[in-house]
Structure formats: C-alpha cells, structure tokens
Symmetry: D2
Subunit: 348 residues, 4 copies
C-alpha cells in the first residue's frame, strides 16, 4: 500500500535521525538548557532575522496551541478562529479545558477572511452588553490551513492591521509551515511571517521530525516580544516540559541547518502536484487544490474503493449522498516511484 494518508506516518527525515544518533551519547543539561536546543533557537532566530525572538520547543501541536493561547490570553479573552481551524474542531476541547472560548468566523477552504474578523470584533465592541461576553483577544490562523491553502500577503497584512486596531495578538499555527515556505506560488517569506505574527509555531512532527514544535515569540516594533512571563514554568504547569529537551532540540537544529525545513516542504509539494495530476488524469475530481502537500478529492464509492486498494488515504468526513471527500498527503518520504506506482495501479 502506498502511504498517502498523512505527513507523520514515517519517522524522521534521515538527516534528523542521523543527528539524534550522533548526539545520543552526550551528557547534556535537561529541560531545554542543552547546547542543541540553544543552537536550534539561534538558527530559528537567524532564519526569521530577529535576534531577540523567544524560541521554545515542545512536543505536539495541540499542546502548543493550548499553551500559546492560554498563556497569551487574559482570562476574560477568547480566540478568533475559522470554523474549520484545528483549535475549533480537532483538539478535543483543549482550548476550553484551559478556560478559553474559541470564537468562530466562517471558513473558506480553511481560511478566515479579514472582513469577517473585522466584522466580528467591531460588532462585539458596538454591543452595549459586551461586558457580559467573551472579549476577542487573539486571532488564530493556520498557515497552511487544514486544507493546505495559503493566505495571501495582503490578507495577512490586513488581518495584522485589524489585530493592532483592536488590541488582539496574532497567532499563526505553522504545524506545516515548511510546506507553505516551499510553495511554488507567490507567498510570504519566513522573515515576513515573523513580522506579521506576534507568535507563531513552526512544526516538526508533520515535517520530518519524530516530534516537536518550535514556538516563536517575535520581536515587535519596539524590539521586544510578547513572551509570557515565566514561560518555562507555564510550560511545566501545562505538563509539557520535556526532561530530555534535547530530543526536540537536536531535531530542530537539524531541520534548520542548510534550510532542510524548506527543502522538505518544496519537495513534498512537488510530489503533491504530481499526485494531483495523476489523480485527475484517472478521473478523480479535485475538491480543493492547494499549493502545498495536502490535496483533496471528491469521488464516488467505486472510485473510493479502487483508490483504497492502492493507497492509504484519509477520509475527510462521513460520506454523504454517495460522495467521498478524500485527503491525500505527501511528506519527506514520498518518492517519484510512489507516484508512478499510484499512476500505474489506478490504471488497472
């Protein structure tokens, strides 16, 4: 079976694994105070061109979202997200578990729109009873979105403007950020993203690491970051401080060496476009075409049955009216041979 069901089905990219092997014997400090974590932080700061950014490594995406949102929001604030945002739907209530409401705006192929956000917030402040409501304190965007789609530079800047106007922070969930940076379409650069977002994370789990996400508190115009006080203590309080912090530090050091991070993204995106071509050629209609590594197709039952004899894919939602929405994903371990085989086997 060809593995196209997600981008975390394989272990680590060979270079990342190699780094783990090579550093295994070293006696290091715990809790992120080791030299590899220090190096990883430094390289991320260089990549975003912000020498004072705050960088912290944790193990998973939902964990990251919970910690960032809970520690950056005030108690009376909620976070605005698209209805399809990961924090809205697929985190088992982790945001609410930490006391905060997710305030939703419509989703367009995974993307929130600046106009909807502005409308939500201005209606809130116009409401005479807003003291009895949850204050919007942050905007959460997934980039790429859960559907692989990307915000344009203009849209991101407009959302940034709204955040400033209404004193909200902007948090960009980059669980798959490398795929955005590796997109062949026009897109913002990593330093631009670090200027637009108050905080973002760049994910390892879905981009060549065994696990790990790097939270980045970016420098604002005054050169300072919005990093929450005693952030290490707060990570610990959320149960997320790894004793062997090195396990993530070593991997991120590798990912941010020679731009491996973006290279993985670029290559996977190319594979994804080949998958789209093959699928379309065989009569599978695209449902959402994205410039990144996630592609969605809509098909009938017989097509679905054929496809699933050839490849593992992800059924995106319960079939309705005989229509199956299927996600196919590429990653660092997707090869030309795999796509060729897909092509060949769908032929039959």
């Amino acid at each position: 079976m060809l593995a196209f069901h997600n981008d975390y089905h394989a272990g680590a990219h060979p270079d990342v694994l190699q780094a783990l092997v090579e550093t295994n014997g070293a006696a290091l400090n715990g809790y992120g105070d080791d030299e590899y974590t220090v190096l990883a932080r430094e390289k991320i700061r260089e990549a975003i061109e912000q020498p004072n950014a705050g960088v912290y490594l944790v193990s998973g995406g939902t964990q990251t979202n919970q910690i960032v949102i809970d520690t950056m929001l005030e108690a009376w604030q909620g976070v605005i997200a698209a209805q399809t945002g990961h924090v809205s739907v697929h985190e088992a209530g982790a945001i609410e578990f930490s006391g905060h409401k997710v305030l939703t705006v419509p989703s367009y192929d995974g993307l929130a729109r600046a106009d909807d956000i502005r409308n939500y917030v201005s209606m809130f402040y116009d409401d005479p009873n807003h003291d009895h409501m949850v204050f919007p304190g942050m905007v959460y965007l997934s980039y790429p979105s859960e559907f692989g789609t990307l915000y344009s530079r203009e849209e991101l800047i407009e959302i940034r403007r709204i955040c400033e106007e209404f004193s909200m922070t902007l948090f960009i969930d980059g669980a798959r950020l490398g795929y955005a940076l590796g997109a062949q379409t026009e897109h913002i650069s990593l330093p631009e993203l670090a200027q637009i977002a108050d905080v973002f994370y760049t994910g390892g789990t879905k981009l060549g690491a065994l696990l790990g996400e790097a939270i980045v508190f970016t420098q604002r115009l005054d050169g300072k970051t919005l990093e929450p006080k005693h952030f290490i203590t707060q990570i610990k309080q959320h149960g997320a401080l790894l004793a062997q912090g090195r396990v993530v530090g070593v991997q991120f050091n590798a990912l941010f060496t020679d731009n491996l991070y973006t290279k993985i993204g670029t290559r996977a995106n190319m594979m994804a476009q080949r998958v789209v071509n093959v699928m379309n050629k065989h009569g599978f209609e695209s449902y959402i075409v994205s410039p990144t590594n996630q592609q969605f197709f809509v098909m009938d039952k017989s097509q679905y049955e054929l496809l699933t004899t050839v490849a593992t894919v992800s059924l995106w939602e319960p079939p309705r009216n005989g229509k199956y929405i299927v996600r196919m994903v590429t990653s660092w371990d997707t090869t030309d041979e795999m796509v060729d085989t897909l092509d060949a086997q769908l032929n039959n």
Copy 2:
C-alpha cells in the same frame, strides 16, 4: 420614566418581601439546611409531581448554568445550545471557564431545532476522527428563550428523544419559566416539563424574587435522578453556596405558595400583550412577538428617540442601517396604568 427595560429592575414581589420580613428573626441552620428551604423544596416537588426530585437553591442564572453544565457533563463533553443561547453568548465564557465547550446550532427566534441537533450529533458520531473532538453530552434549551419564544410540546419531546438516542442529558434553562407557564397559548405544564428535562431550573431573579434560582434534578423513568454526587460540595467549590441559604429558601417558599410563580407570569404576559397592542397602534413594528413577557420591536431612529423619552427599554443590538431592535419587558410590577401612560405619551 416607565420601566420596561427588564424584569429584574424592581425588588421582590410584595408577598416575597413580606416572607423575608416575617422570617427575619428566626434562628436557622445555614447552607440550605433551614426549614424554609426544606419547605420550598417540598413545594417544588409537589408542583412538578415528583416526590424524589433533587432541588437546590443558588443565587444567579449564569452561576446555575455553569454549575449544572460543569457537574453533569463529563470532562470530555460539551453542551449543545442555540447560537443565541445565554450560555453561548452572554455569560462571559463561564462555561468555558469551567472547561467545557459550547457547541452551537442555528437559532430561530431563540429556538434550536430538533433536526439541527440530530444532524449535529449524528455527524459527530459518523466522523471517523470524533475521538479528537468534543463529545456532545448535553442539550441546553432556554424556555422561554432569550426572545420570549416557546418550544412546542412536540418539539420538546422530539429533542428529548434525540437526547435519549445519543445518551445526552437535557437541561432546560427556566430563568423565566413562570412566564412560559403563564402563557395563554398552548404549552406544556410544569409536570410535563419535569418529565422531559433531566434537569431544569426555575428562576426567581427575573420572576419576583430579589435573587435565586431553583435547580431541579428530575426523576427519570427508574425513579432516580441524575443529581451529581456530593452536589453541595460541588456548589461550594464553584463559590455558590450561600451561608444564609434561607434568603433564597424563604423567597422560593413564597413563590411556590398558592401558585404565585405562575400568577406573576400570567399577569406579566397580559401586560406584555397590552404593550404590543399599544406599540403597534403607534406604528412601532413588532420584530418578534412572543407569548411571554419579552417583546421585540424594530424602529427607526426618530421612533427610538421618542420611545426612550417615555420608557426605559433595552437596545438589543447595535443599530444597523438606521434600524433599532428594541426589547420591552414586563414583570410583576408592571401595571395597567403604566401601559396606559405609555399609550398616552406615545400619542404626543
């Protein structure tokens, strides 16, 4: 100024106040273990025809919703509510503060629809990833709704059926329940409501008491209730256990003596219909007409300015396109003279 802005602008109904005065000197046990609270509980059990129901008195509506939802839901569960439900919008995130997500379905003049609820829940269970989502564990209905509207018997029974089918509890927020019971249109009786709901509360704050809400865990088919264990301790943990529990007990004892509760509702509803007639007669268009004590009107700016020189009303949402949505509310202290004066003064 004529007070039509809400149903808690005056103190207590005279009979309720009298009860407080008469019982003031008695030395009683604290924390709800006094004789008046015992009597109030008993009378509520009689009114709903359920001798084993669990009855608890607390002080406010948001508090009640937070406690009931938090103590009845499991940690991984959320509560389904209409988008306009009080728990969705106007409780400053009190439900999320206690760790639970509010799962919304569309609102039709304040009412959720059985079909939408069924659809939400069945889609949830059909979703292959639902283990990563918030389980729907309860349905929350406001009766009357925040717009004064009422569910039909059939709709309530259908929602009850869905709750049973999907192992959810049904919670009815009766902050204004007396107005529903006093409606002149066809509606369910209090014993019927107690059969349909697993838990409900009947409010005092907005119906003739200074403060107080009575939570009722109803008997299920097996004669038992779903009352959470150590409920007194849990009320205490939520900061809601009054030392002088009597202050609510005495008032509810009065409210449930000689059916005062429903009488207050009936009378206020009649006043509300008179208000509608007067308003319509003077060219104020109804926005939502309800069978209870809350009435909504839509008007232009000059009408709004006229009205607010005569009466205190509640501007329901920020004016848009020159249109003002206004709520007018009657209560135990609304008199025929007040409505006559409204009529006279709008004439000018």
Copy 3:
C-alpha cells in the same frame, strides 16, 4: 434553644431589612449599576479614606476568595495562607478549582506569622529548581482569623513589608471585619487596614446582612489600585454577577450608614465577653479567648451534653480523647437576655 452556633443564623439586622423594604419598589439598573450600590461604594471609600478605591459587591465569602485570588494572581502563582485559613481548608477546593495552589504556613490560633512567610518565600527563591514550583504571588490573611483572633499592627506591617520585598499582593479576608473593628483591644483602624492591604473584603453575610461581601481594591502609594482589568466581566465569568445587584447594594449602604457595621461588631463582642464569663464561671474552660465574637471552649462529654441542651453551638472538630472543642458565636441578634438565660440554665 439559645442560638450560639454561628453569626449567620438570623436574617438581616433590622436597619438592613428596613432598607430592603423601603427601596423595594424602585426601578433600578441591574448588575451593580444602581444608585444604592453607588452609594454603598461611596460610603466604603469614605470609611477607608480612599476616594479612588475600587469597590465591588458579590454574594458570598468563598466566592469572593475565589474571584480575588484567581483574578489577581498570575497563572503560575499560588497564594500563601495559614494552614487553618478558610481558603486552605473549608472552601471545598474552590481555589484549586480556579487553577491555583494554596501554599501553607503554620497557624498559631488561626494566625500566620511573618517569620514563617518570609522563610517560605526566601527558601523558594533560593531553591535552584524554583522554576518548577508554584511561585508565591499573594499572602492571604483572615482578619479576624477563623478563631476570632487578631493580628497586631506590627505583625501586619511586617507582613506587608515582606509582600513588597517579594512582589506579592496582600489580601485580607474580612468576612467578619466589623468584629475586628469593634474589638475593645488595641487594633488597627479601617483606614490603616486599607493602607496595609492591596485588596480586602468586608463581609456582610456574617455581620448583619442577608448576604453580600464588599471587595475593596485599595489605593497604593501611587494613588492607583491593583483592580484586575474588566473586573465585572471576570465576576460574570465566575458566575457571581447578580442581576439585581441592588440586593447587596442596599444592604451595604445601610451597613455603612452611621457606622452600623462597627456598631454591630462592638456589641456582639461585648456579648461574647459576657458568654466567656458565664461559661468560665460554670467551669467551661476557654480553649481560645479572642477579642471578637467567636469564642472556643474545651470540655468533657458531660459538659458538652449539658451545654447542648441549652444552646446550639458548633462542634469545631471531631472529639478526641473525650475532649470536645466547641465554638460559640455572638451576632447582632445576641441579647443580654440570652446570655442571662445561658447563665441560668447552666446553673441547673
């Protein structure tokens, strides 16, 4: 039976009740925006000689403690309290429910000692691993304590100094503050207390009101208070915002008129001293003698049985080795006749 079991067994002081009756018919704004709440706030500000203090009225003591501690502490901070402090023992975990740890120091007849607090905090900061521990962010003192005892001016000032040295806020729980102010022994004045504490509350429930506590954020040296932002919203989020805020406002307006608050305390304390005299005279040994309205006695089983045929008292802890620790409490409704009767009946 003579009621000596607590100071909230009777309703409201007659003047307080009268105020409720007289204001009952007025149409007022809700949520604490009524004229009586405004007056009560103003009178409390005058009583503490701080025109800019922030004053908020809520309904109960545990609720107050939970809200003050949760909204003033940062997420990573806990509150230091004596082991016998109300927040440590008798609030069913309400502080932990809102996410904060209670850090305990020894109790001496209900009082924490400055030395123990200093020791706790300096050990914390000396600990090389304190980033993995709960930061002490606040000191909580009960004044009077749960045993009726009072801190000296010097001790309070010393604790204040420690709080400043280690950037902690000082919160004084004055559930029974009027009894402290009415003590015949040397004690701090209300304006002094307001200078020492960053925040305190003065209780109504146990001092002549049906319910209600007044939270006061005091002016600091810079003239500003530490009042949490959007405090009304946060009260609402904790389920504690009363729609008819008047019910507490009217009562506190009465309590702070003509110094009724302190007068109730003074009188009850005098009665308490008479109770001590009577009890001692009849051979009941004092366990803790306090200058306020709570008195503790230790007795054997036969004495306990005699006493409880005469008066309702509070058994303070489970009897051990045949010794009964009993609390007797006076309040606004304790009369000379009651104490005389106690004297007479113990004689038999």
Copy 4:
C-alpha cells in the same frame, strides 16, 4: 566532567536508539495506533501478568501525573501525597491547574506512612464540616521516591487496604520504576505492584528512553480496570496525544524486550552503590542511602567545591549553615570507568 547530576542527561540506551533507527522508515498509523505501540502494550501486559490491563504511552512525567490524577479523580476530590512528592512540589502547580488539590502528609526520606494516611482520611470523615472540604479520592506514591527510597511490601499492602476502606484509588508514580525492580534489597515484583496499584506508570525518560512514560490501568479483582472513559480523547484534551505515537511505542517495545528495563535498573543501582563507597571512602557523608540509583550526600563548602570540579551533581536544596545536600545519580550510561575516575580524582 563526570556526569552524575541526573538520569536523563544522556540520550537513549543503545538498544532503544537502534530500535528507533530500524523502524524509522515504516509507514505507520498515528496517535498510538501503530504496531510498535501495540507490541509495547502487549509486552507490558505480559510483564505485569495482566492480559486486560489498559496501557497508554505519553511523553513526560508531570504530564502523566496531571492526566492520571485529573481523569481518575472526581471534580470534588483531591490527591494525598507526601509533602516531598513530585506532584506536591515540583510540577509548577500542574495538578491544581487541572482543578485538584494536593493533600499532604509528612514525608520520611520521601515516603508517606500508612498511619498518616489513615489518620488524615479518618479525621476527614469524622469532621462534621467535611462537605465543605476537599474529599481525599486518591493516594499518590512515588516508587522509588524522589529520594531513591522504596516502600516495603507490607507498607504498600497496608496503604492499599486503606485505599479500599475509604474508596480511594492508589496511583504509583514509577518514573524510575526500573531502578526499584532492579534493587538488590527485598522488594515487590512488577506483577505484585500491578496488583497493589489501581494505576501506575513506568517511566522511560529517566530509564533509557529519549522520552516517554507508560500509564497502566491495572486489572482489579473483578478483572476490569478503572481506565477513564474515552481516555484517548482526554489525553488529547490535555494536549498530550502525540501524532507520531510510534516514537514512544518503539522505545517501550525495546525497553520491555528481554527485560531491558530491569537490567538498566540493576546495573545503574550497582554503579550507585559503588559511588556511595567511593564517596564515603573520601569522607563524604551519606545523607540518604537508597537501594536505587539516587544517592544523597551532605558536605561542607570545601568538599562541595572539590566534588564539583570532578563531577556534575545536583544541589538538592539551598545550602544552610554551611551544609550542602547533594544528589548523585547513575543511569544506563554510567560506567565502571566513570566511578574509577571519580575515585581517582577525589584522591587529589
């Protein structure tokens, strides 16, 4: 420098690392549904001789404690722990963050005593006001303790008995369980431990893995476990569900192959005894001697300065009165050569 500061300073045991390398390329299911996690679970069940035990893998110890305690306790319950227990002191309030109070009993070299636990719980239930207090719902024991010490079989069985008598669950924190199992002194076996505890975890982070802890819900007398419902969803809600669950599964599969887990413990314990001998020989007084891999010494300043030129150690608490309490720890990577070098260098 010789690394003796903790047991997580090196990466993974070579066999564990090898397993990660060998399995890296395999395309596997996520979220713990991969074949290696399945194997690891099976081997743990075999090792404890309980075919129906529930086994779940997460990434860290504080996280494990938070999840187990929060999901097994009812909302109104707290957990009893020794004052020095990890959950009491060194988890930055992670237990309180999830709403539960840690109820402390005295610690004797890291161990709680059955008598103290029984006393605490029986006093609680004897207290007439216990409905206003936090119910003890679980006993938490560290085995080995934070000081390397072990409970005797008799003490564990007695604590088990108390738990049954008072309807509490027994949770054993085995972050370093392999060192207990590898102790040369008389101690319980792993199957015995699984009979005594309702839930325990066996740690990987401090015992040869890069990260990971295995939570085990044991079979009770009726053959069932106390595993919380929808446990995967609850892990997700706590932010602790790894997408590449394999990273822990592969490591635990290796650790529980050929008893590697206990072998690592046995060997490290032997090294620890050699360290004690060497230290004592050089005049360093033992503070606590344990049968496991953690050893404590007390020394004066000049000794401390000498030692820290030779080895990295852990200063256990702030020096007082010129006395330094130092922890030295061995692990899978401690060699005879290291101990010989320690011996040689302390000689100088």
